[in-house]
Each structure stands twice: as structure tokens, then as C-alpha cells.
């Protein structure tokens, strides 16, 4: 099985760390992984994107034209990339920052999760990327929640390991939000 996910937002939202976390979780599940980042020269505020592909066998192209799943963290990325999700795929959006205007994506599941709001309620908006990762795992079942939580040790530098419990809460909250969004 080959999975691909495209994450996009603005610099500072932790898009690249999210991609790294998903990658390390997939590695923990014994998969081959490619993580292909693309970002502006700015430290914050520019566009930040990454594509993660993981598979039991060959990962193939690190570039994906029509992702199976897109995780979209801001309006600009939504306007630019949401329509690229392939038919039957999932577009997971941060509804705190994306105006949907009641629009839908034909033939694709549009999952709206208020990621900023959830992160703020947990104490720090910077955990928006963790909420997104938890939401991704719950929406796709491509990765086990345990792998994601364990992978925090790999993805975060040692000095930030004290933040792991808070990040686990954010991951779980993201997953829970997907379950309730699908029930609604």
C-alpha cells in the first residue's frame, strides 16, 4: 500500500514539523518514506508545503500532482491546492482560518476541523500542526495513533521532549474532532 499526503500552510504554522512527524510515525511502522519540503525564503509568513509518501515497497515519485489527502492550514493554500485532491480523496482543512463559503469539493470528502481554536483551547496556538496530525491519522487510518505519539520522540529535539505530553493531547484532540465532524 502506498499513501501520500500533502500539507500546506504559511511559514510558522509547523507544516514541515507536521510532515516530519507523519514521516517518523510511518518509519516506526516499518514503511519506506519520502518527505519533500518546499518553502519560501522567509522564516515566517511565506508559503510552506510538504509532501509525504510512505509505502511498504517503493515510494516512487516524491512529487504528487493529485494527492489522496491534503491537509490545508490556511486560506491561501485552500484556494490554491484544495481542488487538486484526487477524486475519492480527503481534504482536511483548518476551518479556523479557511472560509468555505458553503462550498464543497465534488467527489472528495471535505473535513472541516477548527484546528487553531482547538490548539488555543489546549493552551498554545502553535500546536495547530499537532492537531492536524491527529486529525490526519483519524481521518485516514493510515497511521496508528500510538505511532504518531511515539514518533514525537524522533521528530522533536531532545530539549523539547518536555512538551510531548501537551502535544499528545493536541494530537488526540485533533483525532476526536474528526470523529465528531464525521458524525455531524
Amino acid at each position: 500500500m502506498r499513501y501520500d499526503v500533502f500539507c500546506a500552510g504559511y511559514g510558522g504554522q509547523g507544516v514541515l514539523l507536521a510532515g516530519n512527524l507523519l514521516s517518523y510515525a510511518a518509519i516506526r511502522e516499518g514503511k519506506n518514506v519520502s518527505f519533500f519540503p518546499a518553502y519560501g525564503v522567509e522564516k515566517r509568513g511565506g508559503a510552506a508545503m510538504c509532501t509525504v509518501v510512505f509505502a511498504d515497497g517503493d515510494t516512487g515519485s516524491p512529487v504528487v500532482g493529485e494527492p489522496s489527502v491534503s491537509v490545508i492550514l490556511n486560506q491561501l493554500s485552500f484556494d490554491k491546492y484544495a481542488a487538486k485532491v484526487k477524486l475519492g480523496g480527503i481534504c482536511l482543512i483548518n476551518s479556523s482560518l479557511v472560509e468555505l463559503d458553503g462550498g464543497a469539493l465534488d467527489g472528495r470528502e471535505l473535513l472541516a476541523v477548527p484546528m487553531n481554536q482547538i490548539a488555543i483551547e489546549l493552551g498554545d496556538v502553535r500546536m495547530v500542526n499537532m492537531v492536524a496530525c491527529g486529525a490526519y491519522a483519524a481521518a485516514t487510518n493510515a497511521l496508528a495513533m500510538e505511532s504518531l505519539q511515539e514518533a514525537l520522540k524522533d521528530a522533536l529535539p531532545e530539549r523539547n521532549h518536555k512538551l510531548i505530553p501537551a502535544n499528545i493531547k493536541a494530537i488526540q484532540a485533533g483525532a476526536a474532532a474528526v470523529f465528531s465532524a464525521r458524525k455531524a
Binding site: S23, G30, S34, F35, F36, S61, P62, V63
Partner: protein, 353 residues
């Protein structure tokens, strides 16, 4: 997790790790995007294993330090991109003229001039045809994954020592910046010739001279024919390539580096629709695996070359395939947003088959 040591690293870091595993003793370089992770990693790790790292004042200085270190018989390397690689051409020519080994890593960015930092394959000609003056060639290896960034860097050191000529690892910013899970293979055991030619101080013994100046009657011509024979030996023994689904292919796509990864997925998409298409990927760009192209084109007459340029390797493909084979070209010259997608290449396959 497997028992093998797996690491999730950038392609650039894989190059640096492989250099240390290969026993590089000296690194000389100057930072430039998109390859700066290589000097960054080596500046931290090389001194720990007793090696020397120097951030030189310029790329010209760096390549000439590689020349000097190599003349003393030690394993030395440099890395750069685009403008920096152009600056190194004089030194590479001098190394070729002096029959000196040494590894140069080129993580291609777009050009000409300052260009940009996006992935490019437009330095194919510069790398494979002898980028400096005087009519020489260097070994050019083209990885297409994090694993090959690691494995082929080690191979570059060995081939370079074995054939006494510079070797280049030619990659691009996708391969340099992309992170992949790799296995840290140990350095292969290879029987390499002793460096009896190295200048190490005579201590009263034999005097060695390392130079690229040949003024004696017929001396220069003799040098050229000797190297010509060595390039031929290299082609016979060291040509490397990878084929995918070529046996029954009615169209063969050919691409190197990151483009071959995108092309492979496009080939899989085509196969899923019953289209008989295969992929031929050269791993050595010099020597170019001419014989493999000739053999494959004896049964497959339709070819499609894909590059991140307006077409360079396609010249070598056209020279290598059978005369009745038809070679089409699809190129995306480098620049922001110019990376083709598998879907796009699949559309090209459908157009040509």
C-alpha cells in the same frame, strides 16, 4: 523496525554521512543553497573522526585544496551548486590533467548565472562533457534517492581512486533537500591500488611529481591517448543503469535523478491502464551506458527522454540508441513550480505511445 540501522535524513546529509563512512580525510567548501547541509554536517562531524574541515574563502580555493590534499594521497572532497561548480572547473581540469582522484558533489540549482534555488538538470553537459578546458572527462554518478545519495557517494570515492580521475555525484535540490529513510550500509571492501604516485615528502626516497604540464615531445598526446583508453575501460567495466518493465515495453521512458522517480510513478500509472511502457535510468552519466541503450533499442523503437532542462541527456540517448529508433523529448526547464507531476508525465507517455 528492522535490525538494520535506518536513518531518516536529507539527501545532503546522506552524502555527508557516506563521505565519513568512506573515510574522507579532508573536506573543503563554501556554502551555497541547496547543498549547505553537506558542509554543515561535516563541519560538525568530520573533526570528531579526526578529519579536517575547512570553510575556504571561495569555491576556487576549495577545489585547489582538494587538488593539494589529493596529491598528498588523502581522500578529499568538495561540494557546491551551480555558480560554485562553475568556479571549480579550472581546478577540476587541473586534477584531471594531474590524474588526481577526488570527489565533487554538485547539487544542481537553476541557472545560468545566479539563477535560482529550484531543482535543475541543466548542468548535465557541464558535468559529463568535461566542464573545464583541455578535453577530459570525469566519472559522473546520478543518484535518485536518499539511499543512492549515500551509496553512490561511497562508490564515487572508490571509482575515483581506482581510475585516478575526479568523480562527481550529480544530484539536484529535490534529492538534496528531500528526507528519506535510508540504511547506513557499511563501506564496501574494495581492493584499491596503492597511491605510489602521491607526494608525501621523500625522506630521501623516490621523488614523485604531480603536474598537468606536459611539454616533452609527444608527451601530451601520449597522455590523451592513455586517458582515452582509461575512459573506454571505465565504460566497459563501470557503466551502471536500472531498468524497470523494459522487457515487453513498446515505449521506453528515460530519465535520471529525481526526474526518474517521477517518471517511474508515471510508468506505473500507464501500466495500470495496460500501456506497455518501461523505464531506463542511467546511474552513471559518464560513462553513459551506451551499450544498454543500444541493446534495448534493438527491440524497442520508441523512446521518450524527460529532463529538467530544454534537453541535454537526450543528445546522448540519440547517439546511443539504434539508428531506426525514434527519440522524443519532454523537458521542464528549471524554475519555481516547474517540477513535473507523475500525472503530467503520464499524459506525455500517452501522447507518444
Amino acid at each position: 523496525m528492522t535490525a538494520l540501522k535506518r536513518k531518516f535524513v536529507k539527501g545532503n546529509e546522506a552524502v555527508a554521512m557516506a563521505a565519513i563512512e568512506a573515510g574522507v580525510q579532508c573536506y573543503f567548501g563554501y556554502p551555497i543553497t541547496p547543498q549547505s547541509d553537506i558542509p554543515e554536517y561535516l563541519s560538525r562531524e568530520l573533526p570528531k573522526v579526526g578529519g579536517t574541515f575547512i570553510q575556504v574563502e571561495s569555491e576556487i580555493g576549495a577545489i585547489n585544496m582538494v587538488l593539494g590534499a589529493s596529491a598528498c594521497g588523502v581522500r578529499a572532497m568538495t561540494s557546491s551548486s551551480g555558480p560554485g561548480i562553475s568556479l571549480k572547473q579550472e581546478g577540476i581540469s587541473y586534477m584531471a590533467g594531474s590524474e588526481l582522484p577526488g570527489v565533487i558533489v554538485d547539487i544542481m540549482r537553476s541557472g545560468p548565472g545566479l539563477g535560482g534555488i529550484d531543482a535543475s538538470q541543466a548542468d548535465y553537459h557541464q558535468a559529463t562533457k568535461g566542464g573545464g578546458h583541455g578535453g577530459y572527462r570525469i566519472i559522473v554518478l546520478a543518484p535518485n534517492s536518499g539511499q543512492e545519495m549515500y551509496d553512490l557517494t561511497m562508490l564515487a570515492f572508490d571509482l575515483s581512486d581506482q581510475y585516478r580521475m575526479p568523480a562527481m555525484v550529480l544530484a539536484d535540490s529535490v534529492l538534496g533537500q528531500m528526507k528519506e529513510s535510508i540504511v547506513l550500509n557499511p563501506r564496501p571492501t574494495v581492493d584499491l591500488p596503492a597511491k605510489g604516485w602521491a607526494v608525501r615528502g621523500t625522506g630521501g626516497g623516490q621523488q614523485n611529481v604531480v603536474k598537468s604540464l606536459y611539454l616533452g615531445d609527444g608527451e601530451m598526446e601520449k597522455f590523451h591517448w592513455k586517458m582515452h583508453a582509461r575512459y573506454q575501460e571505465l565504460a566497459d567495466k563501470e557503466s551502471r543503469w536500472e531498468e524497470y518493465q523494459t522487457a515487453d515495453a513498446e515505449l521506453i521512458v528515460t530519465a535520471f535523478g529525481c526526474t526518474s522517480r517521477i517518471a517511474r510513478t508515471a510508468v506505473e500509472m500507464a501500466r495500470a491502464e495496460g500501456i506497455k511502457v518501461g523505464l531506463m535510468r542511467p546511474v552513471t552519466l559518464f560513462p553513459f551506458p551506451k551499450k544498454a541503450y543500444a541493446d534495448l533499442s534493438s527491440h524497442c523503437k520508441k523512446w521518450l527522454t524527460i529532463e529538467l532542462s530544454t534537453g541535454q541527456m537526450v543528445d546522448d540517448v540519440r547517439l546511443a540508441v539504434a539508428r531506426d529508433a525514434e527519440v522524443a523529448f519532454y523537458g521542464r526547464p528549471p524554475g519555481a513550480g516547474s517540477l513535473p507531476t507523475p500525472e503530467e508525465l503520464f499524459a506525455q507517455i500517452k501522447k507518444f505511445c
